[in-house]
Amino acid sequence: MNRASIQLSKDKKALRKAKREFNITSIRKDVWLYILLIPGVLHFIIFKYLPMWGVLIAFQDYNAYLGFLGSPWVGFKHFIDFFSNPDFTRLLSNTLLISLYNLAFGFPAPVIMALLLNEIRSQWYKRSIQTLVYIPHFISWVIIASLTYSLFNSQGVVNKYIIQMGNNAIPFLTSDNTFRGMIIGQTIWKETGFGTIIYLAALSGVDPQLYEAAVIDGANRFKQLWHITLPSIKSTVVTLLILRLGHVLDNGFDQIFLMSNSLNRNVSDVFDVYVYTIGITRGAFSYSTAVGLFKGIIGIILIYSANYLAKKAGESGLF
């Protein structure tokens, strides 16, 4: 009702007043909802926005003993060091390649799996499969890395089989050529099942009448999938894709850190691990903060541009 009265009023003063009234009355109306909101807002202010000022140490020669206020300011020194470092291009291309492979192979996997699960008739079978494919998500990367190590090392099961077939053992763990494949494989194994949750939720919202109508019109299974199922989860896919693009420079520290060694360093050196080794093990906090800030800025740019493109293409986008 308030909304309607605002739209009717042409007078600006009246409009402002009405708006104020609207705010107060609506707050009064939903006062409990606003109270419920407070912890969340506080969480973001205290744990996200206040610590964010810490990025300023990227412009300092930060020494923890001297503290934030005592450390000298050095402007863009660390950024210049970073961009002029010969490792920069290698880090960037390694990071991007792993991300792109993950996007190309890892992103469609849960969509496909959700579609497959959706076609299963027997409910208990579907549920138990669903539960089973979730499980790897809850296994930590440390365990997965050691499983990979014992399966794929030179005396592991996989190589024993390869040797029995009369081929030479493949150095899966210690070679530039196999590293990315191992990483993508691990990610797919671990995350595909869990990724299906969102798509299955979206699929359960599709109106069954659409399928009935399609069947009457003579559509087969594949045509139903193509014309009904896929379009109805399209917006979810786009949303997730946008979010995913914001993380193109994140490869997941634990996984890469655990799988990298000196024989695959050429392809396994990525920003996440670099920030860790420079910042934590070598104590160069300012420099690694500069690298982290660079990553964050690229992430924001990518999210915004992906969102813009999605809107251009007629999707609702994120914001």
């Binding site: 973001f44 996200k48 610590p51 964010m52 810490g54 990025v55 140490i57 990227a58 020494n63 923890a64 003993y65 001297l66 010969p86 930590s140 990367w141 190590y149 090392n153 030179s154 150095p171 763990l173 210690t174 070679s175 530039d176 969102i198 939720a201 979206a202 919202g205 917006s235 979810t236 949303t239 997730l240 979010l243 993380h247 994140d250 520290f253 634990d254 850190f257 655990l258 060694n261 000196s262 024989l263 360093r265 996440d272 920030v275 860790y276 080794t277 420079i278 910042g279 934590i280 093990t281 070598r282 104590g283 906090f285 690694s288 903060t289 690298v291 982290g292 800030l293 964050g296 994120l318």
Partner: protein, 512 residues
């Protein structure tokens, strides 16, 4: 409805992502680091009354993750001996330096801190004044003043001393091997590096355990480059840094001898005498294959021989003459042994944990008492009648425990006064090990850059070192050839190595 549920999904996702977002300094991964700050202060946090015993808190290293507990008789005995109220904290060895950096950054250090070495961050914290400069103080204490000047010089930073070194035997490095395998094959203890190769070849191909199966190989390596460096020195390369004909400091990997040692290692690798995945093997898995009788040679510190032997006896009920120990055999340039630095870092006094000068003097006093005869024996062996017994000859015999109750207790032991430890009743391999320690001394190759500081090295050294050690592994695995390795060395010089050499050379010439 649909819109609402979609909104909910997005909200949940955003929250989840926010929760996973790496904080600005990129510390997101530290949660995977196994943290073992095992003991918390058991005392109430309130300020103590002035009359009570002085307090001392210590941060040390644990290797197993189950460090000594605070009600352990040895800790109580230490409190009684020193008159201090001791509280201990431990961090796991494999992540000690990372964790120490984080603790230093958080300004959350106890009074005494075991420092493993002069890492860049340790240097920068010492310079910034996070630790007490004790150069002018330590000599006022009767035991500490007996500390070896050369080793003290080795741990100094810009000529100042920030702690008491944790003494280690210079000639501690050596090779442990399976004596029974050698005897099964009718071979002799190797005298030269070529002999060593032949023994290793036989350990791999001639069925040394005589079980009729081809299930053994010679030597296990891991990610850590220690054994490779020992071989490099044996082949005539300098120990980390050397002097060229012009008296300038050069890195050991820029020598022909180093190349030669790499060729030797490549041969070992190519012929399968070494585990093929060594570059991916964690240090904690390093001893497994030897322990499971899969490999039979281990290059590390010579103490390892007795540790293996003990496990063979206690856990596998095998004989007591299985493992033996030797010094590094003769290379093409004669016998050359890589010594330890004489120290494994130092115990520093932090200004966080000892804010006032009097606290620092108290901490030094504590370290001094730890270097008395009683203090050293307590830290090294524990309590008589609990952890060890003395036989009629006055020799000491340690009791056996399923899990070492003293683990980590000797990590803040400094032992700057030598010759005070009780004599142990030793097994043959331990006696042999003591001999190897002494035999090694005349062949030790000193590192001329040990006491020197280079600012460029402090800043970039670790990153540059990693490039070289990666390139060595790549050469051994056949990913790059000699020209490729030389290109990496050239790259090393270009990216800061030249500056490091110049700084070291200037400092070296100034000091000598």
């Amino acid at each position: 409805m649909k819109k609402l549920s979609a909104l909910c999904i997005i909200l949940v996702l955003v929250l989840a992502l926010a929760a996973c977002t790496v904080p600005d300094s990129g510390t997101g991964g530290t949660s995977t680091q196994p943290t073992k700050a095992a003991q918390k202060d058991k005392e109430p946090a309130k300020d103590k009354v002035a009359e009570g015993p002085k307090k001392i808190s210590i941060l040390a290293i644990t290797f197993s993750g189950t460090p000594i507990e605070e009600n352990e008789p040895a800790v109580l005995a230490l409190e009684e001996l020193t008159g201090y109220d001791v509280s201990l904290q431990f961090l796991l060895n494999s992540s000690y330096e990372d964790q120490l950096n984080t603790r230093m950054a958080a300004g959350n250090l106890p009074a005494l801190v075991a420092i493993t070495g002069k890492t860049p961050s340790v240097i920068s914290y010492c310079r910034a004044g996070a630790f007490w400069d004790i150069t002018d103080h330590y000599k006022n204490y009767p035991n500490l003043k007996q500390a070896n000047e050369i080793v003290m010089n080795n741990i100094s930073i810009d000529g100042r001393i920030y702690g008491i070194y944790r003494a280690r035997d210079l000639g501690r490095n050596g090779i442990s091997y399976r004596k029974d395998w050698l005897e099964n094959l009718g071979l002799e203890e190797p005298k030269t590096m070529d002999d060593l190769y032949n023994v290793m070849y036989a350990f791999t191909h001639n069925d040394p355990d005589q079980n009729g199966q081809d299930d053994t190989y010679a030597m296990t390596w891991c990610k850590w480059f220690g054994p490779l460096d020992q071989i490099a020195v044996a082949f005539g390369a300098p120990n980390k840094w050397g002097l060229n004909d012009n008296g300038e400091i050069i890195p050991y990997f820029d020598t022909e001898e180093y190349m030669e040692s790499m060729r030797y290692m490549k041969k070992l690798y190519d012929e399968g005498l070494i585990n093929r995945d060594y570059a991916a093997m964690e240090t904690s898995d390093w001893t497994k294959d030897f322990q499971n009788s899969k490999s039979g040679v281990h290059i590390d510190v010579s103490d390892q021989a007795w540790r293996y032997q003990k496990k063979f006896i206690e856990e596998l009920n095998m004989g007591d003459d299985i493992v033996w120990v030797m010094g590094m055999p003769e290379g093409p340039k004669g016998r050359r042994v890589q010594p330890t630095s004489g120290h494994a870092g130092f115990v520093a006094i932090s200004k966080d944990g000892a804010p006032k000068e009097q606290d620092m003097l108290d901490a030094l006093n504590f370290l001094d008492i730890c270097n008395t005869k009683e203090g050293q024996n307590l830290l090294n062996y524990g309590v008589e009648g609990v952890h060890y017994d003395l036989n009629e000859k006055g020799e000491l015999k340690r009791r056996t425990f399923g899990q070492d109750p003293l683990e980590g207790f000797n990590q803040f032991m400094t032992n700057v006064v030598s010759g005070q430890l009780l004599r142990e009743q030793m097994s043959p391999v331990q006696i042999r090990r003591e001999e190897v320690l002494i035999e090694n001394i005349p062949f030790c190759i000193a590192n001329p850059a040990e006491p020197l500081t280079s600012n460029t090295y402090a800043e970039k050294g670790a990153t540059l070192d990693e490039k070289i050690s990666d390139a060595r592994n790549q050469f051994i695995a056949g990913q790059i050839d000699e020209a490729g390795f030389k290109a990496v060395v050239a790259d090393w010089y270009a990216q800061g190595g030249k500056a490091i050499c110049d700084e070291y050379t200037a400092a070296y010439k100034a000091a000598n």
